[in-house]
């Protein structure tokens, strides 16, 4: 392709610097969901749980070689660093260069595989063709059997997407913004229809492939790690409830493996985008991930966590604590008797500890000390559980008292509720926090929350 010749003056190092820098805002960096043993030839295998190979200085995991094919782009999305109207250094990898990098990094155990995305060069078809050619080279000539995550380019031909699907382990189409209106505002060249189209195609492809696999065990696998998507949080005016509803329907209607949330970083200082003096809305992103996990693994529904009246997450309490203190009529639950579903709804009890409780109580009556061994976070759980009909120590099972105990005094004061006059400040009247939540900088995120921010990126599935 003639176009490819342009970038060839840059060294590999320069290209890698430019094209990994351009890819860094993409968050979907997991290597999980595929279990594939090595074949005894070639290079590579995959583990179901995924592997994090390093962590960069923003605390995000480095699992895949996350790069763009090129940062040339014919589109002009307002939020994007690589938009046409920006004057940034441009580069393009040749398929050979990507293969060399992937293989050499993989051999040294730097990475778990390749994450390949791209700006739109010439046309969506041309770009997708390039991606396909790269993957084919990597899987064919280099016999690479590690993990590959590739972006489906919206607007590309269905056949190209199908071909990529047979070469990759996971595909994703970025939803970018939760609503069609937001998309029209900020990404004038992208259309909701073009994004949902390939998403549906991949979903259908996976279903068809499942059927084939039940009949022919060795049939080629199509996107065996499922598909994911990502949304930018805080660039437009959507509230948390809308975002969570969108995520829920994506899980239900499109059977996505993951929806990723990316706190908006204002790289272009564009007039139509919100200024974020306090940095990206990290706490909001964190709360969305927490809620997302509640939807997928804990049997919650979006309506239970948020609704039209209170469309934003609580700043001080995580969504599960928030739900629990609003439903004190269902608590405390007796650990030795409660169903798995109910245990999962107790703050401080996760999926693993709930399963362990159910297994352990078969052979012994559990006490609070046993729960501690099992891994329950008693600091949070103690207000919601009994062991053998007893609370751990005498407690006031009342909304105000529990919230006061679950939150740190310094946070309450900083966030406008001093703890003594908690009721008057009305924590649950989230409208008063709505503005704050958008703009809450990392320095104001309660410290014990801050530690967790972002760990959700690389969790399995």
């Amino acid at each position: 392709m003639e176009y490819l010749a342009n970038g060839s003056t840059r060294s590999l190092m320069e290209k890698l610097a430019i094209l990994s820098d351009a890819a860094k805002y993409d968050v979907a960096c997991t290597s999980s969901g595929v279990e594939r043993q090595g074949t005894g030839t070639g290079v590579g295998n995959c583990l179901k749980m995924g592997i994090c190979h390093s962590f960069s200085s923003d605390g995000r995991c480095i699992s895949l070689l996350k790069i763009l094919m090129t940062n040339e782009c014919i589109y002009d999305c307002k939020y994007c660093l690589n938009r046409r109207s920006n004057d940034v250094p441009r580069a393009i990898f040749t398929p050979e260069e990507i293969c060399t990098l992937t293989m050499e990094f993989y051999r040294r155990n730097y990475i778990e595989g390749l994450f390949l995305s791209s700006g739109i060069v010439n046309s969506p078809d041309c770009t997708m063709e390039l991606l396909c050619r790269t993957l084919a080279l990597l899987r064919g000539k280099y016999r690479f059997q590690g993990y590959i995550h590739v972006k489906a380019i919206p607007g590309a031909d269905g056949e190209l997407i199908r071909r990529a699907g047979f070469l990759a382990d996971r595909m994703s189409v970025n939803l970018e913004l939760p609503t069609a209106e937001g998309l029209r505002l900020l990404a004038p060249n992208k259309h909701r229809k073009n994004i949902l189209g390939p998403m549906r195609q991949i979903q259908t492809g996976i279903q068809v492939n499942q059927n084939e696999l039940t009949v022919y065990r060795h049939a080629p696998r199509f996107v065996s790690g499922g598909q994911s998507t990502q949304m930018i949080i805080g660039a437009t005016q959507e509230n948390d409830y809308q975002i969570l509803k969108v995520a829920e329907s994506l899980y239900r209607k499109f059977e996505l493996k993951r929806v990723f949330y990316s706190a908006f970083v204002n790289v272009n200082q564009d007039a139509s985008l919100p200024a974020l003096p306090g940095g990206p809305p990290l706490l909001r992103e964190h709360r969305l991930y927490q809620a997302d996990f509640l939807l997928r693994f804990y049997g919650f529904e979006a309506e239970e966590l948020l609704d039209e009246e209170r469309p934003f997450f609580n700043v001080l309490l995580d969504p599960k604590e928030d739900w629990a203190v609003r439903h004190l009529e269902q608590f405390p639950v007796e650990v030795n008797k409660a169903s798995l579903e109910m245990l999962l709804r107790v703050p401080g009890i996760g999926v693993k500890s709930a399963r362990r409780i159910v297994a352990a109580r078969r052979s012994a009556k559990l006490d609070f000390q046993d729960l501690k061994k099992i891994g329950v976070v008693l600091k949070r759980a103690v207000y919601f559980i009994t062991c053998g009909g007893r609370l751990m120590y005498p407690l006031k099972l009342e909304e105000d008292a529990i919230v006061r105990n679950l939150t740190e005094k310094e946070d309450r004061i900083r966030l406008g509720s001093d703890g003594m006059t908690y009721r008057q400040m009305s924590l649950f009247d989230d409208a008063s926090f709505a503005d704050g939540l958008h703009k809450l900088p990392l320095s104001q995120v309660p410290p014990d929350r801050r530690r967790n921010v972002r760990k959700y990126d690389c969790l399995p599935m």
Binding site: M13, D21, S54, G59, C61, V265, I374, R450, V453
Partner: protein
């Protein structure tokens, strides 16, 4: 009280367990000790490794508890704790006693011994998973991949199958520096473990090959080990990648430290 005195290896502990059953000891009144600390009123019985007995125990454990729980037991025995033998023995005795089904060996976490074994296995398993990711190979002259590790638990035997499956066509070495243990994988052959002192690199006719005899022990020549021609450049490329992939606005070194503890970094290319 009977005390079986073992050396610190899974084979020896399994042999001791076999003997405890063979000699019809009551699990409640038997200890498996890895140290020489004297026990009052205890009858000491020294144990030497007997491959056959260890193999039999392994087979029974696999049949009764399943592959997954056996893996957990082995991980428990890879930990540096001195109580691991006793915890594993009691856990096994209880599991066999109540006739538990595969996958349910560690169910009874309220029991202190089971919990101890479970906690040790979990710790070792977590570190193993970390090392799957954090281990770094360097390419030596002749295309041999060489990695150094320094884990708390004795994990080389667990790392080798993973990497042998991943790189069937590579010669590679994984060296556990503090323990002086080395896992070797020659192309097309089974991997094996050796003490580092016994491992030698030898230049062959077609590139270098790994052999068990030669001229200079690896440990002493590490400073003199030569990187292959492209190695430095690839390392620099990866460092560059790690630098550029971080988002400045989200800078969070505390989180990075939590997820990637400092003790691993000495062995990693990018730090």
């Amino acid at each position: 009280m009977i005390a079986y005195r073992c050396e610190d290896s899974p084979e020896c502990i399994f042999t001791a367990i076999y003997r405890a059953y063979e000699e019809k000891c009551d699990p409640r009144d038997t200890r498996i000790c890895l140290t020489e600390d004297p026990l009052l009123f205890a009858e000491d019985r020294p144990v030497t490794v007997e491959e056959e007995k260890a193999e039999k125990v392994l087979r029974t454990l696999r049949r009764r508890f399943g592959e997954e729980d056996l893996q957990s037991l082995c991980l428990c025995l890879a930990s540096p704790s001195e109580d691991k033998g006793q915890a594993a023995y009691r856990t096994i005795a209880k599991g066999l006693g109540r006739g538990c089904r595969p996958g349910h060996l560690f169910d009874d976490l309220a029991d202190p011994d089971v919990h101890k074994a479970f906690a040790l296995a979990r710790g070792a398993g977590n570190e193993l998973h970390h090392l799957y990711g954090f281990l770094r190979f360097q390419e030596l002259e002749g295309g041999i991949l060489y990695a150094r590790i320094g884990p708390k638990n004795d994990l080389t035997a667990f790392l080798m199958p993973h990497f042998a499956d991943r790189f069937p066509e590579e010669n590679f070495l994984i060296q556990d520096e503090p323990r002086g243990l080395c896992g070797v994988h020659p192309v097309g052959k089974e991997w094996f473990l050796v003490q580092s002192g016994q491992i030698f690199l030898r230049a062959g006719a077609e590139g270098e090959s790994i052999e068990e005899r030669g001229t200079a022990p690896l440990r002493q020549t590490r400073e003199r080990l030569m990187f292959s021609a492209g190695e430095e450049e690839i390392q620099e490329l990866f460092r560059c990648f790690c630098r550029t992939i971080a988002i400045e606005e989200r800078w969070n070194l505390e989180l990075q430290r939590n997820l990637l503890p400092l003790r691993f970094r000495g062995y990693m290319t990018e730090f």
